[in-house]
Structures are given as C-alpha cells and as structure tokens.
Symmetry: C2
Subunit: 384 residues, 2 copies
C-alpha cells in the first residue's frame, strides 16, 4: 500500500485524498492548523513547515511527497528530498515563489509576459515607472495570493502611496495589460514523461479572488489552445516536471501572455472532478505515483463557482439539476474559500442557464448573476 | 456541521464517506473489524453491532444513522432509533434479513416472485418438492450472501444432501427460474418523499458473486423500466422508505420477478459514480440528510467489473482510456471483493471494446473476456 505525504492540508489536499483513496493510496498531511480541512479524513502532523522534527516524523515511511500550496519553504522541500521522492520538483516551488524569478523563467523559455522590472526602493520605483509607463502594477515578489500584495499605480502621484501600502523592499513593477480575458491551462506530466493538457479555462475574479471558471473557455479556438500547450510544454520540460501544473494567462487579442504558474492542482481546475473523464486531482496522483495518466476528455461544458465568505442556501443549490457541491469544512470568514459548485451540461446554453440559477443563489444578497459577473471582470491576477 | 453514523465500515461505508465529505458531512463508523476499509478516513468505534455500550458511544451527538449492510441486528437498530434518526427504516432491515419475509412482502404488494415455501425439516423439504417441483433451490432464510446458503436440487435424491449441506432449520424452497437475465433497480426516496430511479442494470454473477454490471441494461425497453419502477414504488411506499434501495429481479421474457432487496447502496450501483449525474452514494446521503435528490441522468453507457480475490495489473488497467479504479484497501483473499473498475462511454460499442480490454486484464489467467463472461451467466442470485 502506498502512503502519500502532502504538505498543506487545505481544500486542495483534502480533495487529493478524497480522490486518492480509490486509487489505493493512504495519506499523511503536514499542516500547522489544528482545524485544517483534511483533519477528519487522514493522519495529520500538526506543525510548521520548517519544523525539522515534524518533517522527520512526517517523512517516516512515506512513498512520495507532494504539496498543495506553493509557499512551502524550499529548504523544507530540500530536506525532504534527501529522505523521500518529492514531486513536483523543488525547483518549481522556487520559481513560483518569486514573481521576478517566475516571469524571468517564462521569458527565458521564449514565453511572453507583461513587461516587468525589479523594484527595491521608492527611488527605483520612480525610475521603473519611466521605463514601464503608467498605468502599472506594483507587486511584492513573494507571498502574493488572492490579489494581496498588489497596487495599481495610475498616476505618478500614486507611487509613494503604493510603495508605503505594499511595504516591502522586494517588488516588481509590471506593465498594465488591457487583456481580453484571463485564462488558465492545467497540464500534467507523469514520471515517464507522458503529458496531457486540459482545455483552456476562462476565469473571472472579483476582489482578487477567483469566482467563476468556464471550461472549456468560450470561443476557444484551436490555435490558442495549441499556443498554450506549446508554452506549457516548455515549462514542463525545463523543470523536468511531474504532477499537475496550472499556468495563468492574459489573452490579448489572439495572443497569450503568461501571468503566473502554480506547481500544484488549482482552483481553476476544480471543474474537472465532474467535467472531465479524469480529474486534475486523480491525474496529479497518477503522475506522482508513476501510473499512466487518465483521459482528459471533457464531459461537456462545465462551470465552477466558488463559495466565498459564507455559505449560501445549500438546499436551494442542490435543487438545481446537475449542481454538484464541494464543501471544505472551513469556518466562514470574509474572503475565505469555503467550497465550490460545479455544473456540467452537454451544451453551453443549458450550462449557462444552470449557472445563472447557481449564481442567483450564491449572490442572493445582490442581483448579480453569473453572466453579470462575466461583465465585471476585475483587474486581478493571482487566483490562488 | 452534520455527523453521520454508519453501521458497517466496509467498502460501501467507505464510498459513502468519500462522497459525503464534499456535502459537508462528517462520519463515524461502527464496525468490529480493526482493518475495516474505512479505517483511515473517518472515526471508528471498533465493536460488535450488538454491544450496547458501543452503540451508546457510537450514537453520541450523531445527526443521523444509516447502514451499509443489511445484517445489522434489528434490535440494535431499534436501540439506536430511540436516540437518533435512523434511515432506512428498521422495518426494511427486518424484511431484507429473512428470505421468507422478503418474498412474502413482495407478494403482499402484488409484486411477483418465484414460487416459494417454508421448509423447517427434511420431511417438510420432501413435501415442498412435491409442491414446487424440481429443479428448485433450497435457501437459508437468513444470512445468505454471495451465493452462500443455497443448494440447487435437481433430483429427489439430492434432497437429503441439500438439507445436510445447508444445515439449517429455517429455509425456503424456491422454484427454479429459467430466467432471461438478472437485473437490478436502484431507487431512492428522500425525507420529503421525492423519488428517483436509475435505469435497470444487467448483472452477471459467477460462483454466486457479482462480476459485471452493464448500465443501462442492454436492450432496455421502456415498459420493462416502467414495470420495475412501479414495483419499486410500492416497496418504497410500504416501508415509508428513506435512502437508496436496490431490488434484484429475474427477467423472464418481458416480465420481472422480484428476487431480493437490499436496503442500502448496492454493488450493482457502483457505475453511478462515474456513469450518472449523481451517484447512488450521494443520493443516499442527500435522501437521509433531508436534501433534494440529485439528477439520476446517465452520462452514457457504463460497465462495472469487480476485482475479486486478488488485484490485477493496475498499471495495465489504468492505461485503458476512461477506466476508473476503485480500491477498498482490503487484504487479498479468495472470493473477496477488493475493488472495482468502471467504464463510461458515449456509445455501447466503445463501452464494450473498453470492457473487453478491462476483462482481459482482470481475467488474465484465463482467456475469458467481458463478452465471454456474458455468455456464461451462472445461476445465482444474491450479489450482496
């Protein structure tokens, strides 16, 4: 029997375990939170990720280690690597943890990104503004997620306020992209080097948090998918990657600019649980276990909406034919992802109708529907 | 947060938990086996089902109790009923635990069964043979499963051997039915009385153990489905049933004869996890939690094959596009259900091709394929 260690016991880890038990795996988690979402359904080592004793205890007799969030200390990954197989490679963590490294990495592979430059002081910010032009986005290099650690600079006079607000010595200033839409690509590579790519997903954020994913992305044309797969392949090869990776893109006209990557299963891939022949969770596990990848064929047109901050009327939600509920067993808190709902239908029209019903229940306090949501795309990256 | 207690921690309980966590439920199991398949993924009270102290501890602060096998002592169900809501109703247990009660119950609702009569001694067996005619099947009234507790009597001279072999004072003698095929219907009714019916499934047994289910049953015609649903509805109503129920049938020409019922999720419904919009497991939980039922729409043509006795080459299995593996974390043992594989495809031809591939790997020791399996239907009921 295979035991898989997972760094991080949030909803992604929880869903990995739920999908992994049927593959015959057992699970052990390392997570400092006593109320981690996985707590009822697997063994937990409750400690910080840099606690060497805990890492030792965690690693004992594991067959393979993986992680469900990218801010695992790289030193911990290296420590574990000496003891047990760890996938995805620690190098992917290093790249994903630093926006400057990440964008430089994309560019080094010939993958276009928005223009960007390092900024380490207010003085440097001012000269960066000369170079990048306004509007531009100031972002911390590290630990940004759900739109945190970002400031949009519209005029020169914003610069000082932005610098104070971000309050970090290590930033990048990034060109503001007037994108058509935000997309993500879920790709997977197994230990034998086999790859698979799910279709591009269209993502909608509000307040920096992913709200809605549509899969496949509406009006997806094959050249766009091919471009994304070509870029993703370069990333997989360069990192000698094993597991699922998510790459987020800005679509500008018919071009893709890479925004960021997540070396793990991703919120924008949750639709795959009902919407694809094999889910991102199962394919991640198959990949790291040295098993063949499962088919990524879609079952129709899917949508995924996050349940954020508080739970809606679940009874009403479950009355919608074909609506699937995924709760994470987390206490409600503003801005917190508590669960998600998926819809999969044979055609886009029915999917959109169902989605409107879901959106009405989720956004009952307002009159926003899923379709309205689509029109108020907020300018954010980082759907982590 | 809702906590569900489950009597029995086998694979059915395990799959209920795996499907139930996303609905926001937590689980506690009562099972006497320290190596119960659910042991890694929920809390377990490890004790016998008639241990009153254990029942007390098990019931503490549960919201609802259900069971995953029908041989839970009815007295234990009654004991729990005083303390906590229990679904399906204990009455369904009582009926399902005794073949005489069960068949009498069907007949009392106008649902035809094979002819049968009670037999409590060798003398009674001899006169029962006069009444029922040969061939006939001698079955113990209680605790029969996977073809155990049955003896086919072909000639008068078999009678004594049959009686000795069964070795029980409480039997029925049942008419031998030259059936066209064996079918099962999965039905579900929730606390508000809403019902849903999955399509009839065609089942194939060998050595008394379910090997293969095809869903929907090939050549299913609407009058047959309507007949099964009409009969099932009578059962649901008579028992004021809540949860999933499986009813097994013999199809004889265009008629259905009821064979037995299982007041729980059922092996012949495992295909629903990939093959239907909502699985039998999720609908069972929705039903007992007072939630609306999920759509039972099929996603295409499904097949389910059990993995029995020992595991096949899993790597080879997972290479088959669209094959889904479900392991139960049980030690190999002859005749033991260790897992199952499902296939779902848009059309029957592709489903059958995939199924042949699966069957070749599962039955590698022989040259039997899934299709060959279909031709060697063995004469058994009881797929529990």
């Amino acid at each position: 029997m295979t035991t898989i260690g997972i760094l991080g016991g949030g909803q992604l880890g929880r869903m990995l375990a739920l999908v992994g038990y049927p593959l015959g795996a057992r699970f052990r988690f390392l997570d400092p939170a006593p109320d981690a979402p996985m707590r009822f359904l697997a063994e937990q080592v409750c400690a910080h990720y840099d606690d060497v004793n805990a890492l030792e205890q965690f690693a004992d007799e594991l067959d393979v280690v993986t992680y469900e969030f990218e801010n695992v200390p790289v030193t911990s990954a290296h420590y574990l690597q000496e003891r047990v197989t760890i996938f995805p490679p620690a190098d992917a963590l290093r790249v994903a943890q630093d926006r400057y490294e990440e964008k430089s990495f994309f560019n080094s592979l010939g993958i276009p990104t928005p223009r960007f430059t390092r900024v380490n002081s207010l003085l440097e910010l001012e000269s960066a503004i000369e170079q990048i032009h306004l509007p531009a986005v100031l972002k911390t290099r590290r630990f940004g997620y759900d739109g945190k650690g970002q400031f949009v600079i519209e005029t020169q006079s914003d610069a000082e306020r932005a610098w104070q607000s971000i309050g970090s010595g290590s930033c990048i200033l990034e060109e503001w992209i007037d994108f058509t839409r935000e997309l993500s690509l879920l790709a997977v590579r197994n230990r034998e080097g086999a790859r698979a790519f799910y279709p591009l997903v269209e993502n909608h954020h509000r307040e920096g948090i992913l709200r809605l994913s549509l899969a496949p992305a509406p009006n997806l044309f094959s050249a766009l998918q091919a471009q994304a797969e070509d870029y993703a392949e370069r990333v997989l090869d360069a990192l000698n990657y094993v597991g699922v990776i998510a790459i987020e893109w800005f679509q500008v006209g018919e071009r893709l600019l890479a925004n960021e990557l997540a070396p793990r299963v991703h919120n924008s891939g949750h639709w795959t649980m009902e919407g694809a022949a094999t889910s991102q969770f199962e394919n991640h596990l198959r990949a790291i276990l040295g098993l063949p990848l499962g088919a990524v064929t879609t079952r129709g047109h899917s949508a995924m909406m996050n349940l954020i901050g508080e739970l809606p009327d679940l009874n009403a939600l479950l009355q919608i034919p074909g609506a699937h509920l995924h709760l994470y067993d987390k206490a409600p808190r503003p801005g917190r992802k508590l669960g998600h709902v998926t819809i999969v239908e044979r055609n886009e029209e029915t999917r959109n109708e169902r989605l409107e019903q879901v959106a009405k229940i989720i956004n009952r306090e307002s009159t926003r529907t899923g379709m309205a949501l689509r029109r108020e795309i907020s300018r954010k990256d980082g759907s982590k």
